[in-house]
Subunit: 213 residues, 2 copies
DNA sequence: GCGGAAGTAAACTCGACTGTACCGTATACT
DNA sequence: AGTATACGGTACAGTCGAGTTTACTTCCGC
C-alpha cells in the first residue's frame, strides 16, 4: 500500500483532475479514476461520498491554484502602468494554461447543474481580477472608483479577446506547461497590451495614461 | 399520426433542440427526446442514425438561425459609424438569447469530442462577425485592412466583456425571447457601445472616428 | 507483536442508456 | 380500394456506470 490518509486523498485528487479535465464530468467514470490513481473504488468513496463531491473538490483545487498564481498587480512591477501591463499578460498566460482553460470548459458545461460552482469560477477569474485591477488603478492613478471599475473591465475585455473564445472552442491550442510562481511567459505580447492600456487609460480625454509616477 | 416525412423530421429537431439546450448532450436521452416530440424512438432513428447525428443537426440549425438573424453592418444604418454601433448591439443581444448562449455552452462542453462542431461555432460567431465588421470598416472608413481587422476584434472584445463570460457561467440570466428579424432590443446599451467605438476607431491618434460620412 | 484503522480487490445491485426488432396501424399514392 | 411505406408502442439486447458489499491485507500506534 503506497499511500494512506491525506497523501492518498491528494493522490486521488491529482488523478481525478487529470481524468475530469481530459474527458469531462459525464464521460469520466469512478472506475477510470480509481484505475488512474492505482487505488480501489472503495477508497474513492471513503474520501469522497459522491462523484459530485470529488468533482467539486477538484475544481476548488484548480481554482485555488489559479488564485495563488495570479497575485496582485503591484507584485509585477514597481511602476504602476507597467504593473497593469504585466498583470494582464499574466492573466492571459494563465488562461492559456490547459488546467485553467479546461476547468473553464467544465464549469461552463455544468453551469446549469452546478450554478454555485460556475459562479465561483467566474468570480475568481473575472470578478477578482477586475476588482484587483480596479483597486490598483484607484491607488496609482487619478481614476475615480467608478472610472477604474469601467476601465478595468474594458481592459480585460480587450486583452482576452479573441483568445478566450478561441481557447474555449478549441480553435487555439492550450499550453500544457504549468506557469511558474510569478514568471511571465515569453509568448505573451506585452507590446500589444501596452497599446490596449493606452486605449482605456483615460476614456474622458483619450490622452496618455495619467498614472501618478 | 400527426406528422410524416419532413414535417416529422422538423418536429423532432425542435424537440431535440429544447431537450439538448436544457440538459446538455450527455444528460439527454433519446427516450426523453422521443417523449418530448410525442413520437417513438423508432422514428428518431429512422431520421437520424445516431444521437451524435441528431445533435449535430440541432446545432447546425441554431447556427444557421444565428447567421440569419445577424445580417451585415450596413443593414443596420445608412450612417457607417451608427451601423457599427447597432451591429455590435445586435451581436450582444443575440448572445443573450438563450438558444445561442446555451448552444455556446454545448459547443464548449463538447469541444474536445467534436472539434469541428466547436470550431464551426467559433467561426460563425466571432470569425464571421469580426470579418463582416472589418470589411465594413474598410469600406466606410480610412482604416487599412490590417487596422480594420485589429479594430474590429478590439471592439468586439470591448463590447462582449464581461457579458459573455457572465452568460456562459450563468451569472447573468439568459433572454428567453427570440429576437425579431432585425429589431434591436431596448435593453442594449447603445450609448456605451458608441463610447467603445470611439475608443478603438483610431488607435493611431485616438481622435474621433474618421468615418467618411 | 497486536488490534484496529485504513487500504485493496472483486463481485454485485440496480438502474439507465443506445440502438434494434417486432407488430399493429395509419397514411399516401395510384 | 389496395398496397407499400412510414409511424407508434413496446419489448429487448447489450453495455456501462454509481455506489455497495464482502473478504482479505497492510500499516501504525501502543
Amino acid at each position: 500500500m503506497a499511500r494512506r490518509g491525506e497523501a492518498l486523498r491528494e493522490h486521488i485528487l491529482d488523478a481525478a483532475k487529470l481524468a475530469f479535465l481530459e474527458d469531462g464530468f459525464e464521460r469520466t467514470s469512478m472506475d477510470a479514476i480509481a484505475a488512474r490513481a492505482e487505488t480501489s473504488k472503495r477508497s474513492l468513496y471513503a474520501h469522497f461520498p459522491t462523484k459530485d463531491t470529488l468533482f467539486l473538490a477538484v475544481v476548488e483545487r484548480i481554482r485555488a491554484l489559479f488564485g495563488a498564481r495570479m497575485r496582485t498587480p503591484a507584485e509585477y512591477s514597481a511602476q504602476p502602468s507597467e504593473a497593469v501591463v504585466r498583470y494582464c499578460g499574466r492573466f492571459v498566460q494563465l488562461l492559456r494554461w490547459s488546467s485553467v482553460a479546461r476547468m473553464l470548459r467544465l464549469g461552463i458545461a455544468e453551469a446549469d447543474r452546478l450554478p454555485d460552482l460556475a459562479a465561483g469560477l467566474y468570480d475568481v477569474l473575472f470578478g477578482v481580477t477586475a476588482g484587483d485591477l480596479a483597486a490598483h488603478l484607484v491607488m496609482t492613478s487619478e481614476f475615480s472608483a467608478e472610472e477604474a471599475e469601467v476601465a478595468a473591465n474594458e481592459l480585460i475585455g480587450l486583452v482576452v479577446h479573441p483568445t478566450l473564445p478561441r481557447l474555449l472552442f478549441g480553435v487555439e491550442p492550450l499550453s500544457e506547461e504549468m506557469p511558474e510562481e510569478t514568471r511571465l511567459a515569453s509568448d505573451v505580447d506585452l507590446d500589444r497590451i501596452r497599446r490596449l492600456v493606452g486605449l482605456v487609460a483615460d476614456p474622458a480625454t483619450r490622452a496618455a495614461p495619467r498614472f501618478r509616477r
